[in-house]
Assembly symmetry: C2
């Protein structure tokens, strides 16, 4: 069991919530069951999975619920909200994948672990928050929340505003030893949900949650490095990574090397907030890995096996 190829699989928001749906829990379970089939295919091919996931739509909805009920009941701070959503989504992903594997006659254990990730208290992003969360706000709402709640707010389109929070670089996964033992024993784990719960450490050594959201692709690269896995897959809603995106000379990439990825990143080919962190995560993992065959695949959620075989998606290798 323990020497099957290990893959960190990072699920994008569309693995659970489709943009053309309201995103209620029933729909989330339906989408999660579809995603589970892709993941089960990878398991049946003989791979061991460590699953991470974003929480974009869910944390936005959670904070909206928080806000809509603020007159009736105390709100939850952001990092505590991230922890709650880890529990809810971890339960859903572990259950739907466990069920799919049982349908196929397998008995693999799938377990979700509440994951906390240390960030630097002086990470520059705390002074320049850029990660949008929650719903779009009108100018009036934006002014109100900025004034009354101290939210950082950005105009994302003329007259449309969103709350932005810091997105610090993940430094250390607090629960890594427990996670490593589960992986060594052959378990399938769901970890680093929503990028992990961000904590900072004070001079006395105590950890404290902090108002931020860690990018799930960077968190995935960190755990891929820590666990020295064979590959990382970032499953999303595009067939391939493209350069010159949206221009006449747009080109889809089939296979690139680490140094090519670094070059394209430096050219500014990949925008922050979408493809940027995925490529950065790929670079982080491949630069840290000692395995010459380490690779990263960025590909479509529902063709995971084909993407892992290089038939769709973009494969990034060390050389």
């Amino acid at each position: 069991m323990a020497d099957r190829p290990k893959i960190v699989v990072a699920l994008g928001g569309n693995a659970i919530s489709r943009s053309d749906e309201a995103g209620n829990v029933g729909q989330q379970f339906v989408n999660s069951r579809v995603t589970a089939k892709s993941l089960a295919d990878l398991v049946e091919q003989g791979n061991q999975l460590i699953i991470t996931h974003g929480n974009g739509p869910q944390i936005g909805n959670f904070l909206l619920r928080n806000e809509a009920a603020a007159d009736a009941i105390y709100p939850l701070p952001m990092e505590v909200a991230v922890a709650h959503v880890q529990g809810g989504m971890g339960f859903m992903i572990a259950q739907t994948l466990g069920n799919e594997l049982r349908f196929r006659g397998r008995t693999d254990a799938v377990t979700a672990i509440v994951t906390t990730i240390l960030v630097d208290h002086d990470d520059p992003s705390f002074h320049d928050p850029t990660k949008p969360i929650g719903r779009t706000l009108s100018e009036k709402e934006a002014e109100g929340y900025g004034r009354d709640e101290g939210w950082a707010i950005k105009e994302i389109q003329p007259g449309k505003f969103r709350r932005v929070v810091a997105s610090p670089i993940p430094r250390k996964i607090i629960e890594i030893e427990m996670i490593r033992r589960g992986v060594d024993a052959g378990d399938i784990l769901v970890v680093c949900g929503g990028g992990g719960i961000p904590v900072i450490q004070d001079p006395k050594g105590a950890m404290h949650g902090t108002r931020a959201v860690i990018d799930k692709d960077l968190a995935s690269a960190l755990i891929a490095t820590d666990l020295d896995v064979d590959a990382m897959m970032i499953l999303t809603n595009v067939d391939r990574v493209a350069i010159n995106f949206g221009k006449p000379d747009q080109k889809e990439l089939d296979r690139i090397t680490l140094s090519e990825a670094n070059g394209l990143m430096a050219e500014g080919q990949f925008p922050p907030g979408s493809m940027g962190p995925k490529i950065q995560g790929a670079i982080d993992f491949l630069e840290a890995s000692n395995k010459p065959t380490a690779r990263v695949v960025i590909g479509p959620l529902h063709k995971a096996v084909e993407a892992f075989a290089g038939k769709v998606g973009t494969t990034i290798t060390k050389s």
Copy 2:
């Protein structure tokens, strides 16, 4: 590490939320830090802890938030709400205990695991729900929720109503092997939060969350049995278990045997909803344990070490 005495410690609602407070997150962290001192005392004495906890106030508040925001955003079904609260409370308890241990120069890992517990689909409690959750309702509200949402509702005092849900008997902890490995490696785990997320299994083998709340003392007895621990502690807000409670001949119990506990239970000395499940949990664990020295201590939260030494609290032994 792995052969320290193992104790399942079940934390009551007052470990995190005091009844004389609004119970917001800041207060929950303050209370959790006080609780962490008690737990750290037990660790420093050389015990390994497996921590379980109730979610009474938190799940009630979570569902209240759900309800207050229902016009703005889809509500979360109860079992998904339990999963969310496991994440949030697990994060808080693991962090505050981890911090307290670091203050004392220790490096123990404290990890929360999302825990799912199988119940029988035909558990009798599904036909006779009795566990009150959420806030008190007026007669008019009670009628409305009963009619529109299909809630089971009970009149708890004349004119005062609460929603009641099934509280089925926990049968199997789905994540037990992962938990066992963590315990064997010496980790301190936070598990079975809120009694665990209740699931039923359909004829095809798939697990599904179900609208119920498992009693945390019964879930604690199950994990204590599975892990074959040395002792179970149920930490609460009373100094000792009493019989003839509230009567002139009320008597506090210092030490009783399993057969005495069974006898008092049969007499109806312990009400359902409060001391009843604690004594039942004690009976379940002691009857299942093969260790002649196995014991259960029911005692005050902030005197855990004294209670474990038999100086306060009620100790129940096999003979």
